[in-house]
Subunit: 312 residues, 2 copies
Amino acid sequence: MSKKCIGVDVGGTTVKLGLFDVDGTVLDKWEVVTRKEDGGKNIIPDIAASIIAKLEEKNIDKADVVGAGMGVPGPVMDNGFVEKCVNLGWVKVNPADELSGLLGVPVKVGNDANVAALGEMWQGGGKGYTSLAAITLGTGVGAGIILDEKIVNGSKGMGGEVGHITVNADEQDKCNCGNRGCLEQYASATGIVKEAVRALAKSDKASVLRDIEGFSCKDVLDAAKAGDEVAASVVDHCMKYLASVMQQVSYICDPQIFVIGGGVSKAGQYLIDVIRKHYNSIAILKEEKADIALATLGNDAGIYGAARLILG
Amino acid sequence: MSKKCIGVDVGGTTVKLGLFDVDGTVLDKWEVVTRKEDGGKNIIPDIAASIIAKLEEKNIDKADVVGAGMGVPGPVMDNGFVEKCVNLGWVKVNPADELSGLLGVPVKVGNDANVAALGEMWQGGGKGYTSLAAITLGTGVGAGIILDEKIVNGSKGMGGEVGHITVNADEQDKCNCGNRGCLEQYASATGIVKEAVRALAKSDKASVLRDIEGFSCKDVLDAAKAGDEVAASVVDHCMKYLASVMQQVSYICDPQIFVIGGGVSKAGQYLIDVIRKHYNSIAILKEEKADIALATLGNDAGIYGAARLILG
């Protein structure tokens, strides 16, 4: 029997789990509820029980399981220690040690955004590459950076926190982080909607967006793709900020490829083309430009990456 | 006899060499001329001959030499291959293999700025740390980034090229790289002088700089330290740009410490205090801020780092 590995993606509402062959084939996917009460003390035992039941159901011997990887929503030290995980109620825990003790197989833990990046490298938009930056444009903007197939955690777990890089020193509105002008204020779904509202208020130009009450980021992107000038100019402006951060990433650690995911990336190749245009025009020192591709694993990136994490 | 290692720092004019104990004690330092003619084909044989002569002079057996490390002024691939090194005339060479063949000991090669960063980590301003960004403020601005004691070369050797990150999209003057608004245009010695000239032209404020024809960067820094308002505001403005790039580095790969070197850093603690003020105010997401220290090895950082490189 070929060796197996398990990927666990711990979210604030549900825990996603995946059983994989070590070659990256997914054999099963399932979920359990995240019980956050009592400082989240049930989360790891629940995960362990669910995995043990799954292995029994599939008649898989523990000796054939290389181990389990786990992504958690917060900073993780290189040794697996979690100082604080607000979304789960955890304070000063070592979930890797705990899960490993309950399962009897090796366990590694990483930050969920970083782990998802590893998933995209293994079986997603960055397959075949060994260094990448996976940028997620969702409600916020996060990233995971992989160099030589290893996650860049950073000394205090801040590796890949590109959403809060200051891209506009003139911004007056505050970001959730307390600073002003963070990338997240422009390149997230929320940011794109807000910039569209601003653009509409600033001019009298016709736009289909004026007829959609409470329009969404998808509305802005759809309008832009359909040729709406105001919407296209908003997307252009927001992606120019993203490209400026991609230049920084290239000039600091130079990954081979950027993989763009999250809800905003559903705009597809149109979005990649806008990003590419700005990136090429600003990253001029880099003769051979980095590749830019769409993420392909969606919400499964976390379980893929977690499974890959334990493979080392 | 304790084991030895050799550090080689290949510059466009001279090659600096150092003989070290593996504990980091320097035993001897010397130089040879860099013969760039004929595509630089004499450079490696000259280095080999000089090292062999030194070992004979010191009665050191080759069996006691762990190996040699070498820093070269250009991008180096992870496998030691150098596509092009303009300053030395090299095209498509593998200087590590060549020097190793001539010396009969292992040789590793890295980019000189990256190697110097490793030197500062080993025996300089970053001693005791395992991850750092060493930023050199000289004629230009360069950096070497070390994570988990390993140099970040980047996929195309662009790791640490922070001098050409765009920090001012409104700049009209071109940088040498062809872009506009690079960090180097403000935080280098040249940049500081230029910004001082601009500041003097923009106002009628009194400044000692008005009495110094063709003032230098040192003049600007000395005036700033002595309380000259115009000079102090120029230094403040230029270091604010540097701090913005340090925030980016922290939010991308989160080193423990920034080590500031190069001619501009001779301004000492005054400069660090200005940088610290701006860094703290912009890197607010990072609860425990990175340390910021002066480089201490000066021009010797290259030979120290090269020697450290071969120790792995």
